[in-house]
């Protein structure tokens, strides 16, 4: 049996594939065989390295040599030099763009700094159901340091100096929030972890709780010590059964070790955590609504002030922070505020976790330093758009945010920049759209969500969003006039200005930002009664292209309403009066004989 001494990893991602990585792969294999090295050197194709800009990539292990922009013709040299003589092929090494030096191995490449895992440091690294693995990864050390060696004031100052801002979406400085809560005195105070992640397409908090629940518990104890609260509550939606299961195990294990409970580590400080379940309402992510829901009241927001820091859970001072915010805290304590503040941009420090979803190749969870550009996130880490289609927009901030387009691709991502371009950071969902997505339909989708999730307490949100949705529906059916577009804009602004809580104040954002960036598309729906992306059902029709149709009957057999007629080997015809525009025929046709018009 072969026991390989060397592996050559050839990137088989979409980007590299487009620049002939498959030919390179074949050539390398052939060269290895020609030199009788097939028992020593294994050539394999890998998933995307996320460095598509410099593709195709070849990485050689065990020495981690990293070759960039390798062409199929380079195969011979790589095998002759590297595999046989053991010398790296210098001209193919990556040159650092700043230092102008060649970098021999991947560990020293700045590129790998594109993703930096702080909040996700243990996710996918440790067994979340075993506290010992968390302890081995420096777990609870920050808590020990704070409880025994620091005063609450010092700890709050450290968090303030780090520049950490709330990761739930608002971006309020965490240290300041703690300071305010610490200054309100009461017989009982509370620390609340907001795990009511409700944005469609977002799963950052769920992944942290499932992958590293102890980091959140540890941070809650630190938070409790800082504001003199002895009770912690985690508000989590019941739709996250695995996260709840692992949190329960984590709480039990921490109690058994005495890391939660009375007199933690002999410091004299008591703290314990309980879980509260939510029913999965979007509005309960708003802190006042969340608190009411925990009290057993309806999950409706109330006017601020009073802020929870003054009068929160059971009327007592309460500090509410998001899961990801908490996950950053232990590292800030162990590595120091200065270290944390050295990452990110001037006003947004540290990293942000994003859930990449939509028409992107590498759907998944990423953590990047603040200040990275959308281009780097989408085209390098995300591996570009599925099927080589054209990028159209990306929605950040979920139903409260807005869409960003090609012209924003090079904007550094941080709290303030995103607000300035009409979107927001939000909790971190990033939904990527390609040329096939209709922006009117996208706005309508988000409005449908907000209409459903509005708690109904204030009229601008309850009635206004419903009207917005109706207007969008009329536009998508081709029955609107330009005057309706003006109305849409005015109503959006009124809802923003007059709603009680963040849900209504932000719900028209998808409408306003798609109108701002894709005005032409709205006009096409209104004036030409046409959906340029071929999405809005009432404005499109499916037709058979006679010259391509071979009469295979695939479309007719798959049509759910039997509206396609035609003999075998004859051109088929779609009966437009019966067609429901489901697109099944388009999907099944192998001859490009169905067109969307």
């Amino acid at each position: 049996m072969a026991k390989y001494k060397m592996h050559m990893l050839v990137c088989g991602g979409t980007g590299c594939h487009a620049s002939d990585s498959d030919m390179l792969f074949e050539n390398l294999k052939k060269e290895v065989q020609d030199n009788n090295l097939e028992n020593d050197v294994q050539v394999i194709a890998t998933g995307c390295f996320g460095f598509c800009e410099k593709g195709p990539i070849v990485k050689v292990i065990p020495d981690n040599t990293f070759y960039v922009q390798v062409t199929p013709n380079d195969a011979k040299e790589i095998v002759a030099e590297h595999a046989i003589k053991g010398r790296a092929v210098k001209r193919l090494l990556y040159t650092d763009p700043v230092k102008k030096e060649q970098i021999p191995d991947s560990k020293h490449m700045g590129f790998y700094k594109k993703q930096l895992r702080i909040a996700l440091r243990n996710c996918g690294m440790i067994d979340p159901e075993n506290i010992n693995e968390y302890l081995a990864a420096d777990g609870y050390e920050a808590m020990g340091k704070v409880l025994l060696e620091m005063t609450p004031e010092e700890t709050i100052k450290e968090v303030m100096d780090s520049g950490l801002r709330g990761r739930g979406g608002g971006g309020f400085p965490t240290g300041l929030k703690w300071q305010i809560a610490s200054k309100n005195h009461a017989d009982q105070k509370y620390v609340v972890c907001n795990a009511d992640e409700g944005d469609p397409g977002a799963f950052m908090d769920r992944s942290i709780l499932e992958g590293d629940p102890h980091s959140v518990l540890e941070a809650m104890v630190i938070n409790g010590y800082c504001i003199a609260a002895t009770k912690g509550l985690i508000y989590i939606r019941a739709e996250y059964p695995l996260a709840i299961h692992r949190l329960k195990i984590a709480i039990d294990q921490a109690r058994e070790y005495g890391l939660l409970g009375k007199d933690i580590l002999g410091s004299g400080f008591d703290f314990d955590v309980e879980i509260r379940y939510g029913a999965g309402a979007f509005v309960c992510g708003e802190e006042t609504a969340l608190i009411h829901s925990m009290e057993g009241e309806r999950g409706e927001p109330t006017f601020k002030p009073p802020f929870p820091a003054q009068s929160g859970y059971q009327g007592k001072p309460t500090n509410v922070n998001n899961v990801e915010t908490y996950a950053n805290i232990p590292v800030i304590i162990t590595k120091g505020a200065k270290w944390f503040a050295s990452i990110g941009t001037e006003k947004s420090k540290g990293t942000k976790v994003f859930a990449l979803a939509g028409k992107i190749n590498n759907v998944g969870l990423i953590e990047v330093p603040m200040g990275i550009t959308l281009r780097e996130v989408i085209f390098e880490i995300g591996g570009g758009i599925q099927g080589g289609k054209k990028f159209k927009a990306v929605q950040t901030g979920g139903p409260s945010g807005g869409c960003l387009t090609e012209k924003h691709l090079d904007t550094p991502i941080d709290f303030d920049n995103l607000l300035a371009v009409g979107s927001m950071m939000g909790s971190g969902g990033m939904i990527v759209m390609d040329e096939d997505d209709c922006m009117v339909a996208v706005a309508k989708f988000y409005l449908e969500f907000t209409v459903e999730e509005s708690c109904g307490k204030c009229s601008p949100c309850r009635i206004g969003n419903k009207r917005l949705h109706e207007q969008l529906d009329i536009i998508s059916k081709g029955n609107a006039t330009e005057k309706d577009l003006d109305n849409l804009k005015n109503l959006s602004n009124v809802i923003k200005d007059t709603s009680l809580c963040g849900l209504g104040q932000t719900s028209p954002n998808p409408v306003l930002s798609t109108m701002e960036n894709f005005w032409d598309e709205y006009l096409a729906h209104v004036n030409e009664k046409r959906c340029p992306s071929g999405v809005c059902k009432d404005l499109i029709r499916y037709e058979v292209i006679a010259e391509n149709c071979v009469g295979c009957t695939a479309c007719a057999r798959n049509c759910p309403v039997n509206c396609i007629a035609g003999e075998r080997k004859q051109v088929h015809i779609i009966d437009q009066s019966l067609c429901i525009k489901c697109g099944a025929c388009l999907e099944k046709c192998k001859f490009n004989a169905i067109a969307v018009i």
């Binding site: 394999i44 292990i61 777990g139 025994l148 992944s207 002999g266």
Partner: protein, 134 residues
């Protein structure tokens, strides 16, 4: 379990646990054991990670492969779930994506037994913090 009563206790415990881990992972001796981690977040489990984990445990037991199989959280590669990370003694961890039963079988037979890599491994493209230094 005994309670941890002071910071010194906590640090001592951490050191013991860490040395156990490094003994297990880093030693290149025959006693060094293979570590297999299966990504078991919600998305992993939904794509079949549980079955893969059971398969790996059963099969390695049957085939006398000495390995520690454990679960971990979401590695972030949602597009390639289920994901399995294998660390051979003395080597860098390798992440395999889209692991079905056939691939799990290949991981045991080809990678764990022979050090032979499989097509479609996922290159790590992130940096994590060095926890001990500030």
């Amino acid at each position: 379990m005994t309670k941890i009563k002071s910071l010194a206790d906590l640090k001592k415990m951490k050191q013991e646990l860490q040395s156990q881990v490094s003994l297990r992972e880093k030693s290149d001796t025959p006693e060094g054991r293979v570590m297999v981690r299966v990504g078991m977040g919600t998305s992993g489990i939904a794509s079949g990670a549980k079955q893969i984990m059971e398969f790996l445990i059963d099969e390695m037991d049957k085939r006398n492969v000495d390995a520690i199989v454990s679960q971990t959280g979401d590695m972030g590669y949602s597009y390639a779930e289920p994901t399995v990370e294998v660390t051979l003694p003395g080597q860098e961890p390798i992440v395999f994506g889209d692991v079905d039963q056939k691939k799990a079988d290949d991981i045991i037979e080809k990678y764990i037994k022979n050090g032979e890599l499989l097509d479609g491994i996922i290159p790590a493209n992130y940096e994590t913090i060095d926890k001990n230094k500030s």
